[in-house]
Symmetry: C2
Subunit: 111 residues, 2 copies
DNA sequence: CAGGTATATAACGCTAGGAGTATATATATG
DNA sequence: CATATATATACTCCTAGCGTTATATACCTG
């Protein structure tokens, strides 16, 4: 699998990533929660692992997978030039709100 | 083609979208700039058009394609829950800076 | 060590979809 | 109208990659 885009294009893989976004899981937990076959889960995890989307740590006979969202930065970065197309109308308002409210919004986000 | 992710997974289509992000183009312009065959360009444009990524307007015998980035919002939205993973360090810093800044503002009210 | 459980890998059949070639359609121009 | 140009579509071939089944590997427990 070449690009991060190709990897994320796979629905099952997006599901796995979304699941891991909440907390780490073992293979069988993913298997159960997403109702996928075990080989399928393992194969997708391998792809995700080799591309740096997830990381495994050994826990007895289980492997606990956790997310490493670094590669998603690339998607985010690619998206950046397009954001203007859906934000340009609110930009003026945003700028205003930012000036008025920037500090307090930042504080509340870090809670 | 099912999902916006699948559509964007195709390198040629990402190239077309990036190209159109700068300005609208005709099919043959895309063909030249991306060095793709004409049928290939047309086919990708069809996929993009049917998924709402681009919009064509007639200009003589040409079709001028422009971007309609609405569908990309979906990618952006899917990405949202993952952003914490690469911003949380920045957030901690911001929280710190905010605390420092708050104090200094208390001391010297600049408006 | 035997048996069980968790995960990984291999082999295979199948299908989606990309590239290329050929052709159809529309418009412009002489 | 004849011809050239711009774009769309049909068709065929070909490969990447998914799911499944079977099996290998690793670890745990009695």
């Amino acid at each position: 699998m070449e690009s991060v885009f190709g990897i994320v294009a796979e629905p099952s893989r997006r599901a796995i990533l979304s699941l891991l976004a909440t907390s780490e899981r073992s293979v069988s937990e993913i298997e159960d929660e997403l109702r996928m076959s075990q080989p399928s889960v393992s194969k997708h995890l391998r792809v995700l692992r080799e591309a740096g989307f997830v990381e495994a740590r050994v826990d007895g006979q289980r492997r606990l997978y956790q997310i490493r969202a670094e590669p998603l930065k690339e998607v985010d970065a690619w998206l950046a030039p397009f954001r203007q197309f859906w934000t340009e109308r609110v930009d003026a308002l945003e700028a205003h709100l930012n000036r008025m409210d920037k500090r307090s919004r930042k504080r509340s986000r870090t809670g």
